[in-house]
């Protein structure tokens, strides 16, 4: 009597391909994201250069930077991590006001720094996964200067690939601005509203 095999061929094939797929899946997602991170930074860099080389006024450049931040950076998470412990005691209105003021401050401050890159170029070199996010490395080439490294940290935990930190020659935006915001808070003895008012005026 022919016994029915415990596992039919179809079931076996189905199971094998499911196992293979489940093994392949994390790799595939990971590889796609690493490409997505790289592509996002390449696009951001290209748009950054369009803005810098457009030759527009300072005010227009800053608003273009603000627009770039809206589309490529995760401003809510950057603002929150820059404010650190003080984010916890801020109320909703203060959090919203701080995020807005901080975005304006960053586009003015970094807008004027990136202006110095006019005539140079930034090349995206490589990307790698670190824990739950990605590190995209680029190199800035300026006339008559040794090339220097710009690193972009990018995460899709907001639902989209967004930059959450920027590191130029080891100096990272989050740590540096946390120090600045901390100094503003100290100056006003921890008064969040006064700090926000100062941030709106700072460049």
């Amino acid at each position: 009597m022919r016994s029915e095999p415990a596992l039919s061929r179809r079931a076996f094939l189905g199971l094998t391909s499911a196992v293979t797929a489940s093994l392949a899946l994390p790799c595939r997602v990971w590889a796609m994201s690493i490409d997505a991170a790289r592509t996002a930074v390449s696009r951001l860099v290209a748009e950054l250069y369009d803005a810098i080389n457009s030759g527009g006024s300072e005010v227009r450049l800053y608003s273009e930077f603000e627009d770039l931040l809206d589309r490529y950076a995760d401003m809510p998470i950057i603002a929150r991590s820059v404010l650190g412990v003080d984010w916890r005691r801020a109320n909703d209105a203060q959090r919203r006001a701080f995020t807005m003021a901080f975005k304006g401050y960053i586009s003015r401050k970094y807008g004027s720094r990136f202006r110095d890159l006019v005539g140079g170029r930034i090349e995206v070199e490589g990307a790698r996964a670190i824990r739950d996010f990605f590190e995209v490395t680029s190199v800035a080439y300026l006339q008559g200067e040794a090339p220097f490294q710009i690193v972009w940290l990018i995460s899709d935990r907001s639902g989209q690939a967004r930059v959450f930190n920027l590191i130029i020659e080891g100096i990272n935006l989050r740590t540096t601005e946390a120090e600045e915001v901390g100094a503003l808070l100290d100056r006003h003895r921890g008064d969040i509203d006064a700090m926000i008012a100062d941030l709106r005026a700072a460049s």
């Binding site: 929150r80 916890r88 909703d92 739950d132 040794a146 100096i171 989050r174 100290d186």
Partner: protein, 261 residues
């Protein structure tokens, strides 16, 4: 029977190599975390910072602006190149002490190219060939040997440093082959050249330094965090940093949605 001279120096060289290898084998010191600031003597550091800002405002800034206006750009660049070129031998000494022989070769080659084809260092053909200075100092050598950063220190006129790097600076001055190679008055020219180079740097980084010193809520804190981050980056020598992920921040409520604002 005394050993022949050549033989003795060879033994000394072998001993030095063994000692260096042993030192380097201990591995570099552990670098402090991103926001760690070890400012043991903040009060006197702040006083020195204020002094430096005063000196900058009264002397260095105006002089460097004048220097930038009076001396044409190609001359400034040439003098700057020459000053940088004279630093190369010191880099090579430190590269060897760090057992980073590829950097030693790179700096030696750069020095030879710029000293000859670069007309004694006035031009910088090596950079055009893609050979940049692998700059270093004795502070880095001590780091490679395992000496920790120490406390943050603000030096008169020279600005931010650490206690380890302050010792490093003194050793660098003492063992600088360029300084040792020249007797007075040539050695004075070398010193003059490096002062000029300092003025040129202040001129070229003018806006950036103005911003740090004069634009920030607390210029002292800003200069300190910028210096420490950049210094640790140099000492990491290309290896990755331990990044902080704000999406799993210590201070955050995991059930709070930052997008629900």
């Amino acid at each position: 029977m005394p050993l022949p001279v050549a033989h003795r120096s060879r033994i000394r060289l072998a001993l030095a190599t063994v000692a260096l290898t042993a030192l380097a084998a201990c591995g570099p010191a552990v670098l402090p975390g991103d926001r760690v600031v070890n400012d043991l003597d903040e009060q006197s550091n702040r006083a020195m910072h204020d002094f430096n800002v005063g000196v900058d405002r009264a002397v260095i800034r105006p002089v460097s602006l004048g220097y930038g206006q009076v001396v044409p750009e190609p001359v400034r660049t040439g003098l700057g190149n020459a000053a940088d070129n004279l630093d190369q031998p010191l880099y090579v000494v430190n590269n060897i002490l760090q057992l980073r022989l590829d950097d030693a070769l790179q700096n030696t080659f750069r020095f030879l190219v710029n000293s000859t084809f670069g007309l004694g260092g006035l031009l910088d053909p090596a950079s055009d060939m893609g050979i940049y200075a692998a700059d270093t100092d004795f502070g880095e050598t001590m780091h490679v040997w395992g000496f920790a950063e120490g406390g943050y220190v603000v030096l008169p006129v020279l600005g931010p440093s650490t206690s380890r790097d302050t010792v490093g600076r003194l050793v660098d001055v003492a063992m600088n082959p360029t300084r040792l190679a020249f007797a007075a008055p040539e050695s004075d020219y070398v010193t003059g050249l490096s002062v000029t180079d300092g003025l040129n740097t202040r001129h070229e980084l003018g806006d950036e330094i103005d911003r740090i010193y004069y634009d920030h809520a607390d210029g002292y804190r800003q200069a300190r965090i910028l210096f420490l981050q950049n210094r640790r980056f140099e000492l990491r020598n290309g290896s990755g940093s331990d990044y902080m992920d704000p999406y799993d921040d210590l201070y955050d409520d995991p059930y709070e949605d930052p997008y629900a604002q």
